[in-house]
Symmetry: C2
Subunit: 519 residues, 2 copies
Amino acid sequence: MNGAEALVGTLGANGVDTVFANAGTSEMHVVAALDGAPAMRPVLCLFEGVATGAADGYARVAGRPAATLLHLGPGLANGWANLHNARRAHVPVLNVVGAHPRAHDRLDPPLASRLAELAGSLGGTVTTASSADDVPTSAVGALAGTRGVRGGIATLVLPADVAWSDLSATPPSWPLAPAPSRPRPPAATVEEAWRWLRDGRAALVLGGSLGTEALADASSVAAAAGARLLVETFPAVLAHGAGVVSPERVIYLSEFAIAQLADLERVVLVGAAAPVGFFAYPGLPSRLLPPDCRILDLAEDGVDPAAALADLARASDAVRQPGPDADPVTAPDGDLNPASLAAAVAATLSEDAVVVDEANTAGLHLYSALAAAPPHRLLTLTGGAIGFGLPAALGAALGSGARVTALVADGAAMYTVQALWSLAREGLDVTVVVLANHAYDILRLERTRLGPLPNAGASHALTDLSAPTIDHVALARGYGVAARRVTDATDLVGALRDAAHEPGPHLIEVPLPAMAFGT
Amino acid sequence: MNGAEALVGTLGANGVDTVFANAGTSEMHVVAALDGAPAMRPVLCLFEGVATGAADGYARVAGRPAATLLHLGPGLANGWANLHNARRAHVPVLNVVGAHPRAHDRLDPPLASRLAELAGSLGGTVTTASSADDVPTSAVGALAGTRGVRGGIATLVLPADVAWSDLSATPPSWPLAPAPSRPRPPAATVEEAWRWLRDGRAALVLGGSLGTEALADASSVAAAAGARLLVETFPAVLAHGAGVVSPERVIYLSEFAIAQLADLERVVLVGAAAPVGFFAYPGLPSRLLPPDCRILDLAEDGVDPAAALADLARASDAVRQPGPDADPVTAPDGDLNPASLAAAVAATLSEDAVVVDEANTAGLHLYSALAAAPPHRLLTLTGGAIGFGLPAALGAALGSGARVTALVADGAAMYTVQALWSLAREGLDVTVVVLANHAYDILRLERTRLGPLPNAGASHALTDLSAPTIDHVALARGYGVAARRVTDATDLVGALRDAAHEPGPHLIEVPLPAMAFGT
């Protein structure tokens, strides 16, 4: 038994059943070892950013890590951006990265790089297997790194000679990583939070991964206390839809968020950080809460947010309200715009679907419209690194077995467009809706802070996607995904219904007007 | 005048005329500053790996840096792999990376990351502008970092508040980076190298960026000394074609290279490192030269390789031979295979073209066939990080003004396929030839070292690109690039000729058989 086989054995024994991979020569022994582990599904990704984004999507819905298999420094770098999003989602991801043997690396071959420094820059744990005998321990150590109290990105560096060398003896069993264990909040803190919420203008601000029960607890507490209920702008996974509490979302743009939060005197955080602007602007504060607002974090030090909300509900004696009623959504007709788009998606969504939202500016109405859709889970762009949507849809489909609808802005879709091929290859029931306004509209909006948007020059060149027009239907078909372009809202509703009734992935290109900024 | 304007002014004064960009909110002041600098061409790239690969291609043919404009940590990470290739090519690239203001970053907003550590992992210089007044000095410092004796990747981190703040006074002029100055080799070393080459079984091994004159010098020296003339496997830029000396290339696969070099007793390096295997294998040495082969590096300590070869030619009294004759290449007919592909490209190549070679396994015959093509420059995959070809073609076209032919394996094309759109947008005369064998054939070859390639399981799943088949013609058209698929060698010759006579980019999909490894 060699180190690669020991790695695959250890991962399998610890419940890792999916590997999103783009391997190279230095990982060939791991690939061969996977041949002997048919229970572990190898998913080929044409680009490493697809593999890592898929691992993120998988972890958000499955609650446990998939592995990635990446080739040396460049492979890890290609996956870095979506690992950033996964880190910000506090979900578990295990990267297996091949490396040159140390003696080979010292000779500075073409693919040598500062791999350890690169891995360290991800902000997770980095473990290097030092020998074949060390592999099971290293792998379990890396898995433990994914099970930190707030999730974690763990990178296991596997030198090729460690992979190909034999263990001195076959271990009688594989070591198991300790199960994650998260404390409940101290009772005194729960009591204090409950007092805070009743005192003055207060809000409960939620974040992270939030299920139906946790939202119901939070809602009943907020109602009993007369406090507002908010959720961070980009939660990792949010239960959402008819019958599910839909908290007010912190607004993305700083100036609007500051106005939204201006009356707050006390805030209790559960799974969220104190709201901070996505970007800094001259003359605007970075902290979005009023300067004198007091903040209590009920889920600090790794406390389980769901447990914290349950304890808070118990302490408050709040009566659990039934989930909000929701009228069925009426299928829209007429023009395509962000409102009719959102209504069409809400009117056609399958029960228990997963919705991946990288719609950006085109998604303005999605959250409110989907509140009346059948119950679903909503995944959002936690880390702000564009290119999340398509890979996350791939991973979420494999991690949940559910139907997935991914709403992806055209600019964002281009970052990791190769994910379409993996959707087709794996035959997944994923509907990709590309929102094609042929512009980086968010940047045009930001550019107008500095004056009128010019019709030419760099500001135009660097925000325009219309010359040439990208044909997303052609791209999808090129990757083996059935695709069509819709003309109006009725057509979109029909396309969404068709996609939901046919197996395999579908892409729908939705032409949307760009915002009018003078171009 | 703000920091962003000072940056653009300084770069312009130092000859930077092209910016490959994918900007975000934190770079918006730089974008606005570019509006006021129409001499600096902003080239929008849909993914940052396209921007950095284009900057590499630009630098290889222009000999001076383009700038990239990248968005925070994720943007730099997305560009990392092609910066690795550029570093290995020893060419100058200047990255401008936006950052959060320090006070904002400290609050850990969603896009905060370990940017300095990430930038450091590139192995180049990293400079952070600390104030608007500091920008010209920082920019010139970063430019100096691109002008190291062996080229360089320099990263200038520009916090948004530095970009938007006003300078205390407008500088009377922009500072200029010192011109690169590279020493000639010591006369005694030149004499020693000349003695070495005449003594026993010796070789002159070239690398880096090699022009016609340098190759002629090297060839005349080798001929006079009775030594072999070799070039590293993946030079950055190699003058090549009819009338140009074509050195024997070090073979890619270690076992063949070891056999190729087995008789050498002395090696003189000029611009190359001592040959090292691309990968390590059990039982094979990493060093490709015989263990007792003696090595002299004539271009160490930053010595200019071309000057070293000129000095060596002078010391040797070698008579410059006329360039080798070459019969015109006959256009092939019949089946499509690596040999007919190479002949078709050689038979149709434009004079003074740039050829970008990321053909990988399908490119086996290219180097020898192109030796008889019209004179051209050949760019190769210096760092081994896949995804170089299409972006490098974009940059090489802009940096040279010449016609570019890019030969890209289908697997490699997928890494940075978004470059096709920028080719169409900029209207560049680039012919992209996608070599579609629908497999990671090099990995299949490597896998057979471990035993027969299985027809199923991970080894099949992770090397197969045939299910579904990727339609490269559809992808190209989706990005606005004219495209066709050819059926035989005659058809390929016609398609190459048509592409060379029509303005703008063209893509030709060439079906090739995968190697037969039992699948």
